[in-house]
């Protein structure tokens, strides 16, 4: 295939601006799929993505398009649209020469529109602004285009106006792709350089490696080397996604497709790696990407200890298809054996949890999430803290550091004050405000990640009646006056309830937390003190009074069976909780840490 007739592109957009619908239309109009094969949002092949309307994993599809008598091969590389998945956006963009910037004709430029557009600009992609949903009764196309020019600095004169939903002006999209996006460069005779931009595991075929060829070509039977992982394998099959996997003889410069080598371990295929030929290798690999960093962690513990191995298997299965998710065994005095799991962000965490719940039937206790911290020790060493339990004695801590995110909000102008107040209350550092037009503004703050992960998104949505959007990226770590707050139940520390908080918030958080716990833990046969403490200093306390009366006087005549069953039921109720010392703590209590933080 002559690279002249290849176009590689992504669609980038804020969530819900119609990315998947446009992708579907491109497939339909080009005949890549028939109406009969059409399923809504075909690219989102994970159920969870469909349920939530969010694309998590990058996927690609090859489309043939006849433009003025010439057949072009268009490769659409899908990108995820949520803040947690920046990393996946970047790796998709690296495989393209252009991008369709899709913007809702009413909502206009939103936080992730900006973030994604800047990511595309950073890698020099040709950007085609596309205003979507022009079939809606209320639209403001002119203002939206003005925002594109002022906020993003893009020329919006030739912006396309489409409705993906009703299939309006889709041809103009194809035409713009062909005419505006540059064809891939690349030398057919050079040694093979293929960028791995995604991978997934298939039970029958092993690892499926998604590649974009930059130089050279690859054929079935070639011996290939993954340059970073130093893995050598024979190519069993190559092909393209149309959208199902269709084998082909060769993939040349500019083309996008898959390689099967029969490899069984997904971990051996690193996204960002370069595939070359074993016998005629490239001198240098393509620039790779940074590995994604897990920023949010939580513990997952089976209620029934015998489920531990089953949980491990499930987590392993999940991580096979999601290299950005990590887990390591963890032991808690309170909860026993479990795993500390790392996620890119809160949404990522929720998605993984939902998958776990879907795919297996076990009772799990999940601890409140926390971000990752750094501790500089007196001896100069640096510790990474993914778990509040690992915080060392205050005596050896020189500096406690927390991750800082640059957060960009786009909100209606009248909410600027509210958002600033929200950020100020959360230890935010103001950076800038920019008006996108008469009615909307972009505000930039630097905020501790811990202050945004729990509920910033929900808060933003509620104070702006749903009109505000946000995006964030981690910009580094900064020293802060952080302390570990412990929870003591009847005098014993419950490690799984420990949290890291800013000293200035500690008392308020502590009070809120013990109050919540008091509601969650039911009365026992004795009095239970619930305390929040920093080191040995108690900062908040609540007492659950002892059960004062629990005796069913009746013995139900001679119906002992009934009596016994009633009492057994009472006991079963206790069993569903986690016994900690003598105190039974219900599953829900372990999430009160999160809830009480939200109460703030």
């Amino acid at each position: 295939m002559d690279p002249k007739f290849i176009r590689n592109f992504s669609i980038i957009a804020h969530i819900d601006h119609g990315k998947s619908t446009l992708a579907d239309q491109l497939l339909l109009k080009s005949g890549t799929i028939t109406q009969r094969e059409f399923r809504a949002q075909i690219l989102d092949d994970l159920d969870i993505e469909r349920e939530r309307g969010i694309t998590v994993k990058a996927r690609s599809v090859t489309i043939n398009w006849n433009q003025d008598g010439q057949v072009y091969e268009l490769n659409l590389i899908d990108t995820p649209g949520h803040v947690d998945f920046h990393y996946e956006v970047n790796r998709s963009l690296a495989a393209c020469e252009g991008a369709l910037l899709l913007i809702d004709a009413f909502q206009g430029v939103q936080a992730q529109t900006v973030a994604n557009a800047f990511a595309a600009i950073a890698v020099n992609l040709e950007i085609i602004p596309v205003v979507n949903k022009i079939d809606l009764p209320v639209i403001r196309v002119d203002e939206v285009l003005e925002e594109v020019e002022t906020v993003l600095g893009l020329d919006a004169t030739d912006a396309l106006r489409v409705s993906a939903k009703v299939g309006l002006n889709i041809e103009s999209v194809f035409e713009a792709i062909v005419k505006k996006i540059p064809p891939p460069k690349g030398t057919p005779d050079a040694p093979l350089k293929a960028l791995v931009f995604d991978s997934k595991y298939d039970n029958y075929r092993g690892v499926i490696t998604y590649v974009r060829i930059f130089d050279g070509s690859v054929k079935k039977g070639d011996k290939v080397r993954f340059m970073r992982e130093q893995v050598v394998n024979e190519v069993l099959e190559i092909g393209q996604f149309r959208p199902n996997m269709v084998a082909c003889d060769e993939l040349g410069p500019g083309q996008v497709g898959y390689i099967l080598t029969g490899l069984k371990e997904l971990s051996k295929v690193t996204v960002g790696d370069t595939v070359t030929l074993f016998h005629n290798p490239a001198a240098e690999p393509l620039p790779g990407y940074q590995k994604p960093k897990q920023m949010v962690f939580c513990g997952m513990f089976p209620i029934d200890a015998t489920d531990f191995e089953a949980l491990r298997e499930e987590l392993q299965k999940l991580s096979m298809n999601d290299s950005s998710f990590s887990f390591v065994p963890e032991t808690s005095d309170a909860l026993g054996f479990g795993f500390r799991c790392g996620f890119l962000g809160m949404l990522h965490m929720e998605i993984v949890q939902q998958r776990l719940e879907k795919e297996q039937d076990m009772d799990l206790i999940q601890t409140a999430p926390n971000v990752t911290y750094q501790i500089v020790k007196r001896d100069g060493g640096i510790m990474t803290i993914d778990n509040p339990q690992d915080v060392p004695d205050a005596g050896i801590i020189e500096e406690f550091r927390e991750p800082i995110a640059k957060v960009s909000y786009i909100v209606p102008s009248q909410h600027v004050g509210t958002i600033m107040q929200l950020c100020q209350d959360r230890r935010g550092i103001y950076r800038s405000t920019e008006y996108l037009g008469p009615t909307r503004a972009q505000i930039i703050y630097e905020l501790p990640l811990s202050e945004i992960v729990y509920d910033m998104y929900d808060k933003l949505k509620s104070v702006t009646s749903g009109y505000g959007t946000m995006d964030y990226e981690i910009i580094g770590f900064a020293a802060a006056d952080l302390v570990k707050m412990d929870i003591l139940v009847k005098g014993s520390r419950v490690d799984a309830l420990s949290t890291i908080v800013h000293r200035s918030n500690a008392e308020r958080r502590g009070r809120a937390l013990v109050k919540r716990l008091k509601e969650e833990i039911s009365k026992h046969q004795f009095e239970i003190a619930i305390q929040a403490a920093i080191g040995s200093r108690v900062i908040a306390r609540e007492t659950i009074s002892a059960l004062s009366k629990n005796v069913t006087a009746k013995c139900y005549g001679g119906d002992i069976t009934r009596k016994r069953k009633l009492l057994q039921k009472q006991k079963e109720g206790k069993k569903r909780m986690k016994q900690f010392g003598e105190v039974e703590i219900p599953q829900k209590a372990f999430l009160t840490v999160l809830e009480s933080a939200k109460d703030d």
């Binding site: 009366k549 005796v551 016994r564 009472q570 006991k571």
Partner: protein
């Protein structure tokens, strides 16, 4: 040895009180003849292998309201029982009754047929509380009935209910005081329970009835204990108090985990190591015996360990507690092996204690007996 105790359930009432979840029907008196016929069939079925009338030492006719039956029907019940069982000379033969309608004629029939213990469902001497409980008698009627009935049957026991919405501690104390002036030998005090399926349960859920705070209910229970004990009543089981020599022998059979016969809808029996309960629906029970078929709904044969655990549950309800040596001899196992951790923990928390050769609830343990006892199951 065959069971020495017999229970007969009579499921008829004048009115179905909102808190009651025993097997009963109200305003279905037309079913009484059929009931008597089917009771006869059931007795014939379970007693078919008897070669002679078996002697029983305790009988308990409960309900419902057994004395809702006419004197003639009551007579029939005794005849049906008498075909297969013989009351021993020194036995305890009880019947439940409500103050309303307990006329001299009925009392005569009871007395003539060997009934020597009367269990009266008085519940309260506060008319407001009686109204809440939907009882059909007044405090005055109850007082009158107790005095009159004791002339026929001197051993009178009275049931009381505390923890009733709107009931104050003072009302409860007055009820206790009033009752102990009357000729009664035995008193049962029950905390009101909102049983699933009853109108009270739904009304409590929907907020129409306001559940009494635990602390007040506990204070009422404590008040009953101190008042009744001061009047010479011995607190011998969670909800039972008797003058010396007047413990309920029939109920002691249950708490000893001994065996007993039982007849009538919803009745639970324990024979040959098997516990079984008749259909709780009166109509179902009638239809079943109409076809000549037994209708046991729950039937279980417990393992030795389960029996032992059940025995712990039952005997801890008695103030005397669990006699460790007898328990171990009876079940051929060690109490320590069975429940070492539970006992240690509860003793440490002051809920259980050893007293002589027995393990028993402390006063604190008694207040939350369900919670303590369930740990052994």
């Amino acid at each position: 040895m065959p069971p020495q105790a017999l229970y007969v359930h009579v499921p008829f009432c004048l009115h179905h009180c909102g808190y009651c979840d025993f097997t009963l029907v109200a305003n279905r008196d037309h079913l009484i003849p059929q009931y008597l016929e089917m009771l006869g069939r059931e007795l014939n079925h379970y007693c078919r292998e008897f070669t002679h009338r078996r002697k029983i030492t305790t009988l308990f006719i409960g309900g419902g309201t057994p004395t809702h039956l006419s004197p003639k029907d009551l007579q029939t019940i005794f005849e049906l029982i008498g075909r297969h069982f013989e009351l021993s000379d020194d036995g305890e033969f009880s019947i439940e009754a409500n103050p309303d309608g307990l006329c001299d004629e009925r009392l005569s029939v009871l007395e003539a047929n060997g009934i020597n213990r009367l269990s009266l469902g008085v519940q309260s001497f506060d008319d407001a509380v009686l109204k809440t409980l939907e009882r059909k008698h007044s405090a005055a009627e109850a007082t009158e009935t107790i005095a009159r009935a004791s002339n026929f049957i001197p051993n009178v026991s009275v049931d009381l209910i505390f923890g009733v919405p709107g009931q104050g501690l003072e009302s409860w104390q007055q009820t206790l005081e009033h009752l102990t002036q009357l000729p009664v030998k035995h008193i049962s005090t029950y905390g009101l329970t909102y049983e699933q399926g009853t109108p009270f349960y739904r009304q409590e859920k929907s907020g129409v009835l306001k559940r009494m705070p635990d602390d007040l209910e506990r204070d009422m229970y404590l008040a009953a204990m101190s008042h009744l004990e001061s009047r010479g009543f011995e607190h011998y089981e969670v909800s039972n108090f008797g003058l010396p020599g007047y413990q309920c022998r029939h109920n002691n059979v249950y708490w000893n985990a001994d065996e007993y016969y039982a007849f009538g809808p919803g009745a639970a029996r324990y024979i040959d190591g098997i516990r079984s309960t008749n259909a709780r629906s009166v109509v179902k029970w009638l239809n079943s015996w109409n076809k000549g078929e037994p209708c046991e709904e729950d039937r279980e044969q417990l393992t030795t360990e389960e029996k032992a655990r059940e025995a712990i549950m039952l005997s801890l309800r008695r103030m005397a507690g669990l006699h460790v040596a007898s328990f171990e001899a009876r079940f051929q196992l060690s109490l320590q092996d069975l429940a070492e951790e539970e006992i240690r923990q509860h003793v440490e928390d002051g809920l259980l204690e050893y007293s002589g050769e027995c393990l028993r609830l402390t006063q604190n343990g008694l207040l939350i007996a369900d919670s303590v006892v369930s740990d052994f199951l």
